[in-house]
Amino acid sequence: MAEMIIKNGVVYDPANGVNGEKNEICIKDGKIVESVGAGARIIDAEGCVVMPGGVDGHTHCAGKINVGRVMSPHDMRYRPIPGLSGQEARTKLLRPQVGYNTPNTHAIGYRYSKLGYTTIAEAAIVPMMARHMHEEFEAIPILDKLGLVLMGSNWQVMQYIADGDSEKLKAYVAWLLLAARGYGVKVVNPGGGSNWTWGKNVTSIDDKVIDFDVTPAQILLGLAEANESLKLPHSIHVHCNNLGVPGNLPTTLATMKLLEKVKASRDRQVMHLTHLQFHSYTGTSWMDFTSGAADIADYMNKHDHLTFDMGQVIFGPAMTMTADGPTEYRNARMFDAKWSNYDEELEDASGVVPLSYTPYSFAHAVMWAIGLELALLVKDPWKVMFTTDNPNGGSFVNYPEGQALLMSDKKRQEVIKGFPDMAMDRMSLQNIDRELDWNEIATMTRAMPAKMLGLTEKGHLGAGADGDVAIYDIAPEKVDPSVEHEAVKKALSFAKYTIKGGEVVVADGEVTATPKGKVYWVNAYEGVLQAEKDRLMADIKERFAKYYSIQLANYMVEDAYLPRPVEIRPEAI
């Protein structure tokens, strides 16, 4: 493969301590190298910011999003951001594109690439449906992908925790990752998905799960310990109980404290808390709820065992999709909206509901503020990943808007001016003047997500990393992001160049090539002792014979669904 050298750009590579230096970046055979020959292709990044390719560690991009598409033909025409949304005819190179919150797979690949993102993690798939996720992955061009596997309401998981059989639990977690060709352990509203089978939920981490002698707290601890014992690259990835419920702050803080007793097996967090904005509410109802961001941030600032992502709200239409089945039913009733529900046999639940956020609603205004407050009040950017929980808080094509807001107090104050009075004493964002710099933005969108996921080839520009680079047409020494919001947003929305595996895939904001991406998965089952495998398989066979509607022989995702796999084996266990 041809060699490439990126010259004259201002480089932000936080993982390697490079903060705005005029370094050259060399790529050979798709990888970052120390140097290249004289014949290398020169990319002139004069007047540009250079960063590693973006890593979205939590997005709903394959699986449930297809339910969203079927539910929302209207979304296919939304075009609030020309070039990143709406209907676009096919070209000689590109497939047709439609949609905003639920774009077709090809549009997902093209548009993330335009933003300079090169790796995305599907946030939640039940193992049974993993084959579907991989089918959609194959239809998302350019990007590298990975999927997190839902385990927090799984019957067998809960049974082994109730039995105190940690070895079998460990073997089963590894087996589920193998079966789904998944990357990590996802826990959504632990226990609640199982209770939703009977139309019920859990309301604290100490409630009992119906028919199982376990609590959400025990599920969290059991899975975290199994995760660390297997030395998985990623920690457990948790969506807490009581999402979106005023007064959920104590539940979130209790979940955070609970994990203090688990020790990380690698240089990373022991738990990633996702879309924390939806979990940071005080009060007893929507009438008296306020932002709990200060309490969350205070805890985060004093402890180092956790990371989180924002779940930033973007004003306008969104599409909520989550394994949190009871929450989606509640949303549908509250907003009188369309509702889709899945009950996934022994594994989990899920739902999809469209909704819209407006700055004229004090509740939505405060939610918008909480996401930003969390990112600004937590001092260390290595604990924060930028997300909108795409498309729950809003479509990923709005990432530049959210990132530019983090860089400009002036712009935030402008937006806040339009909020209803009732919002003002429920939030604190108007009093926070911190403005993030390019290095902090690069941390929250590249370095941190890659480290949080344990993706060693991603999120940095050191030798050996994948040749994934984003180049934005904005000169840090000339443009002040705190006053030039629109310029920052525009630069981040349409990369000057996006380079994926050493190939230019976007130039001047347009897609120029559509290579196929890789799919990362973790094979920890290989390292499980044969005696444990035998003990586990006896149970699995019984479960399939008794309960599942499909055969064990039809369950494991076949090699055919991963044409470009990257198998990661945690060190021997």
């Binding site: 999003i65 033909p73 005819a89 190179l93 077709n104 055919a560």
Partner: protein, 203 residues
């Protein structure tokens, strides 16, 4: 419907721990069409105030669910796709296969893994007799009667591999059991598009 039947149904729901309403073409294809489905879903939503109740469509025709899934992720919509604008345009009632056939708008027809000859309305089938029609299928059926070209295809799950989605959207791997000289649907369609591109000089 007598009042007693409605009350008996309500009692059944109230007494259940988990109820599923399976609905079929009697709901979707009779007068009021999608409005019937809307009524069922409103009922289901209300019932969940007290009991767990869900609804699921009874899909027919083998992998019709899989078609809807693939169409949705590839093009944005599960059916009735019109690509004349260069992207998918969707308006059931206007862009459905039968809408187009009834208006006698189609000037050629290709079908695979379905039997419109047996299942489409007579007015549609009459038009299909008048225009060139291509059938891709493993078996002869009423559609064969009006087809000008019949391309026999390998049977997925017997003669070739593939994926089918159950009506609950669960994907299942179709395995190959025996060898065949027939091509798979995918190979046939790929050959066709390549030939069209060669003839038309497109990308």
């Amino acid at each position: 419907m007598p009042k007693e039947t409605v009350i008996a149904a309500a009692e059944m729901f109230k007494a259940s721990k988990f109820a599923i309403i399976y609905f079929g073409m009697g709901v979707t294809q009779t007068r009021a069409r999608y409005k019937n489905g809307d009524n069922v879903s409103s009922l289901v939503s209300d019932l969940n105030q007290t009991n767990k109740v869900v609804m699921m469509p009874m899909r027919g025709h083998y992998n019709v669910t899989g078609f809807g899934q693939v169409a949705a992720w590839e093009a944005g919509f599960p059916m009735a796709l019109d690509f004349a604008r260069g992207y998918a345009y969707y308006n059931p009632g206007e862009t459905g296969t039968n809408d187009i056939l009834m208006r006698k708008e189609a000037d050629a027809f290709i079908t695979g893994a379905a039997d419109p000859g047996a299942h489409f309305p007579q007015e549609s089938v009459k038009h299909l007799f008048k225009i060139p029609a291509i059938q891709v299928d493993g078996y002869a059926n009423p559609t064969t009667e009006f087809s000008d070209v019949v391309i026999p295809a390998a049977i997925a799950g017997v003669e070739c591999e593939g994926t089918a989605y159950r009506m609950d959207c669960q994907p299942i791997r179709m395995k190959k059991l025996i060898d065949t000289t027939f091509k798979s649907d995918e190979e046939i369609l790929t050959d066709l598009i390549n030939k069209v591109r060669e003839l038309k000089g497109g990308a």
